[in-house]
């Protein structure tokens, strides 16, 4: 039995999603903006009602035809970007809120709240007011407040997105310990590959309101099949047709040779390679390297100590290359210029689509 | 009245004259206009342009109690030789206005107390003439739903509205009641006699005590129940010339007009009694 099962449509948002989550699993929903990730969370949480289909939690339908369990009866915790601590209550009262709302006596609720605050490292803030704590502390307290209710499911909607980069890692590891480490079932929406890798067991890739692929995080990130996932892990992705055991042909006619990560059948296949492994030539390279692609430069932007060059093939597909700042200046690489990108076959992974 | 009605017997006005009439209640603006007017035509604010044309109607500015609005507007039409500008407001307010320097030639009040205040302040001539009386009457809504028969026991338990005791119409109401041996138990004591009349004519109140002129002005909406003539306690309306009148002769002419047979006839049609 799935802990969560979503098979539902929401017409207004163009959503038609199918997703099953096994008990004790953390699933990260990834995909471009507007793909429907947050809508799936709202369907599960009860903030959104489906036009068709059902949403089940622990085998019981919570949303469906003639069924709608209200948000406050679902026992599903939600954590979002904003911690949304109640300003008129102390930190301890915030953490005890869920239990008090369920009718638990004050002393008992506050004792539990204190344990939860201790577990997120905010025990000494119990008497403080919400506006007196920092952003990172507020998010820790929000986690304590959510977990104090023993939710059967946790929904995380980009819980780290609003945090300072200096604070995010600590909260990330806290979430890893308290969610994944304690075997809770959770759905996580994120735009960050690091979040997906550290917090989630499985990945569900969404695009245009549909779940395109779902599976173990490592598998999906190792072999990106959609441009979004490729972007997420930061690799180039070119789609084509297998022409042999170690080569594919792109729509532009270019041939890309690589190392098959999985045996290629005869059909659609994908070549992926890191931007760092791409060399840029301003003239057609001599000595006929096996992979060279003629592109028009569409963008040059700094990326740490390097410069990322983005080029477009004649069919519009994109390839990125990382080079040093000096190199980009010396070569006079400006948008609009034609260049050749060269990548060694040993650094190209090939797998079926 | 907070927005005093101003009328003039002349309809076709010279643009400059219109401006002057328009600004007449506001002394500061008025004198500003006067400066301009002086520079252009060498006339003062309250004299009006007619002063420079002695052959035309003579201007006169009359400050009169609000209850005189209809009657005085009509009387002003009777004298083609006078160019009458009328300013209506509550009697105490008129006295205040003249004290503050408002340009008036004639003052006509609805009570002797206000006029006495004006004579004591020496802003008007000392011997005012009583030109009309206004007696208290009992009015009821059309059809007399509460079946009131007069200032008597039939008023008990009805919704009676009178003026506050401190206001002339209220004082009159209580005098009438005392003379009739009745204690009034009003549900409301209004500041303005028109508020009393309004509450009776709308049917909200069962009865009210107002002046005969107010009853007259209400037309068919109310019925008037006669009060014993001995016990009407009419208010006496005095009028006189303002000390600083710019047009004393025209002022005298207007007062004479009011006291004339013609003037008295007009007053009578509006419910006023003879002096």
């Amino acid at each position: 039995m799935s802990a969560v099962s979503v098979h539902a449509r929401v017409e207004a948002r163009g959503l038609d999603a199918a997703l099953d989550v096994a008990p004790g699993t953390v699933v990260a929903l990834v995909g471009p903006n507007g793909a429907g990730k947050s809508s799936v969370l709202q369907l599960v949480g009860g903030q959104l009602q489906p036009d068709g289909g059902t949403v089940s939690v622990d085998g019981a339908v919570v949303s469906g035809p003639r069924v709608h369990v209200p948000v406050h009866r679902r026992n599903i915790a939600v954590l979002e970007q904003r911690p949304l601590l109640f300003e008129h209550l102390t930190i301890a009262e915030n953490a005890a809120f869920g239990l008090r709302a369920r009718g638990v006596r004050a002393a008992e609720a506050l004792a539990r709240a204190q344990r939860e605050l201790d577990a997120v490292g905010c025990g000494e803030l119990a008497g403080a007011r919400a506006w007196e704590v920092s952003g990172g502390q507020a998010q820790r307290i929000a986690i304590a407040r959510a977990l104090a209710t023993d939710p059967r499911l946790v929904l995380l909607d980009e819980p780290l997105a609003a945090l300072d980069v200096s604070v995010a890692p600590a909260i990330r590891s806290l979430l890893r310990r308290r969610i994944r480490g304690e075997g809770r079932t959770a759905l996580l929406v994120t735009h960050d590959a690091v979040d997906a890798l550290t917090l989630a067991d499985e990945l569900a890739v969404m695009e245009a309101g549909r779940v395109l692929a779902a599976g173990p995080v490592a598998d999906l990130l190792a072999r990106p099949r959609t441009p979004f996932v490729a972007d997420l892990v930061g690799v180039n992705l070119l789609a084509g047709t297998a022409t042999g055991p170690d080569a594919i042909r792109l729509a532009t006619g270019d041939r890309v040779v690589g190392v098959p990560a999985d045996a290629l059948g005869g059909g659609a296949a994908i070549a992926s390679f890191a931007p760092a492994s791409v060399a840029v030539h301003t003239a057609e390279p001599s000595g006929s390297p096996r992979n060279h692609l003629r592109v028009t430069v569409t963008g040059i932007e700094p990326r740490g100590s390097l410069v990322r060059l983005t080029g477009e093939l004649s069919d519009g597909s994109r390839v990125s290359a990382d080079l040093t700042l000096a190199a980009s200046v010396d070569e006079g690489l400006v948008p609009g210029r034609e260049v050749w990108l060269v990548v060694k076959a040993a650094q190209v992974a090939l797998y079926p689509r | 009245m907070h927005s005093p009605s101003r009328r003039t017997s002349k309809v076709n006005l010279h643009p400059l004259e219109q401006v002057q009439i328009h600004f007449r209640g506001a002394p500061a603006l008025c004198s500003a206009v006067a400066v301009v007017a002086l520079a252009l035509t060498s006339v003062g604010c309250s004299t009006g342009p007619a002063a420079s044309a002695p052959t035309g109607p003579r201007p006169v500015t009359v400050f009169a109690a609000a209850s005189l609005t209809a009657a005085f507007t009509e009387i002003a039409e009777l004298a083609p030789s006078l160019d009458v500008t009328l300013n209506f407001d509550g009697s105490p307010t008129l006295v205040d206005q003249i004290t503050s320097g408002a340009p008036a030639d004639v003052l006509a009040t609805a009570d002797e107390a206000s006029m006495q205040r004006a004579t004591e302040a020496a802003i008007v001539a000392p011997d005012p003439t009583i030109f009309a009386t206004n007696s208290g009457v009992l009015i009821v809504p059309k059809g007399n739903p509460a079946q009131v028969s007069g200032v008597d026991g039939s008023l008990d338990g009805t919704k009676l509205v009178v003026c506050a005791r401190a206001v002339p119409c209220g004082a009159t109401a209580h005098k009438i009641a005392e003379a009739a041996g009745v204690t009034l138990k009003p549900v409301s004591e209004e500041q303005k006699v028109t508020d009393v009349r309004g509450k009776v004519s709308s049917g909200e109140a069962d009865a009210g005590i107002v002046f005969a002129t107010d009853a007259q002005a209400a037309g068919d909406a109310v019925e008037t129940i006669a009060v014993d003539p001995e016990k009407r306690f009419a208010a006496r309306y005095p009028m006189t010339i303002v000390t600083e009148a710019k047009n004393p002769a025209a002022a005298r002419a207007f007062i004479d007009l009011v006291l004339s047979e013609e003037g008295q006839a007009v007053l009578a049609t509006h419910g006023f009694g003879a002096p």
């Binding site: 949304l84 008129h88 709302a101 209710t149 | 509205v161 401190a166 549900v187 500041q191 909200e204």
Partner: protein, 272 residues
């Protein structure tokens, strides 16, 4: 507010702007100072302790407290519903219920008279049942609620709209029922705007004149509130009118101060 060397005064604005600004300040304050100058201070205690003044003060306080409580009891729920509603109907209702705020008071009085008066749309059937509100203290309260409640509705609805529904959503996901959320989250968070909205409502009710005199009448101890008493005394006993006017000005000043204190307190909470 204390002026210190660090207090800002028109920072970064052109100097000439001070001229119209000073004019505006003078125009708004000089009439108040004028009253203060004319008030016979030595006689104020005596003027305020005459039976008619005491009755007017007591009646005004009583009716305004009741009117404010009624506005809270029914206006607050309206504000909550409006803040959490969209669509044409909500828009129409929102516009309609704020109209009394901008109506000339005498129009409000006429509207109430025509509706609840003896021959009014609702008043006539009620009159048959022996219920007549005209000339009663109830009518005073009705007039006050009619003109003042929109201030509470507007203040609270605006605050609730701008604060969004995030906190209520968080409370629901923590298992709080809508009623529990309203009691423990929404209302406490709204407390500052409820307080300032109530203060405005009280102040507006206290100043209510036109609707009262048109609809309720004027009788000492029953319907003659402070403004009506001032109106009556205005031409007869200027000193007493000024003394009572002073009371209204002081209450208005206190109301503004309370409102300002609450809004500053809110700002401090939001921006630590």
């Amino acid at each position: 507010m204390t002026l210190t060397t660090s207090a800002r005064l028109g920072d970064g604005l052109p100097r000439w702007l001070f001229v119209p600004a000073a004019l505006a300040t003078l125009f708004l304050t000089v009439p108040l100072l004028g009253i203060a100058a004319r008030v016979p201070w030595a006689e104020v205690p005596a003027l305020l302790s005459t039976p008619s003044s005491v009755d007017a003060l007591a009646l005004s306080l009583l009716t305004c407290v009741v009117a404010t409580l009624i506005a809270l009891a029914i206006g607050l729920p309206l504000a909550l519903v409006l803040a959490r509603s969209d669509g044409r109907l909500a828009g129409v209702v929102r516009t309609l219920v704020t109209i009394p705020m901008v109506l000339p008071p005498v129009v409000s009085g006429l509207a109430l008279l025509i509706t609840f008066g003896r021959r009014g749309v609702l008043g006539a059937p009620l009159s048959v049942l022996g219920i007549e509100v005209g000339f009663s203290t109830v009518a005073v309260v009705m007039a006050q609620v009619f003109v003042a409640m929109p201030f509470l509705v507007t203040a609270v609805e605006g605050a609730l709209r701008s604060s969004g529904s995030g906190f209520e959503g968080a409370a629901a996901s923590l298992g709080a029922s809508p009623s529990y959320t309203l009691r423990r989250v929404t209302l406490p968070l709204l407390a500052p705007s409820i307080a300032s909205g109530s203060a405005l409502t009280f102040a507006r009710a206290l100043g209510e004149f036109g609707a009262t005199i048109t609809f309720a009448g004027s009788l000492q101890g029953v319907t003659r509130t402070l403004p009506l008493e001032i109106y009556l005394l205005r031409e007869l006993d200027t000193d007493a009118a000024l003394a009572l006017a002073l009371v209204l000005i002081v209450v208005a000043a206190l109301t503004v101060a309370v409102t300002g204190w609450f809004s500053r307190r809110t700002v401090r909470r939001r921006v630590p």
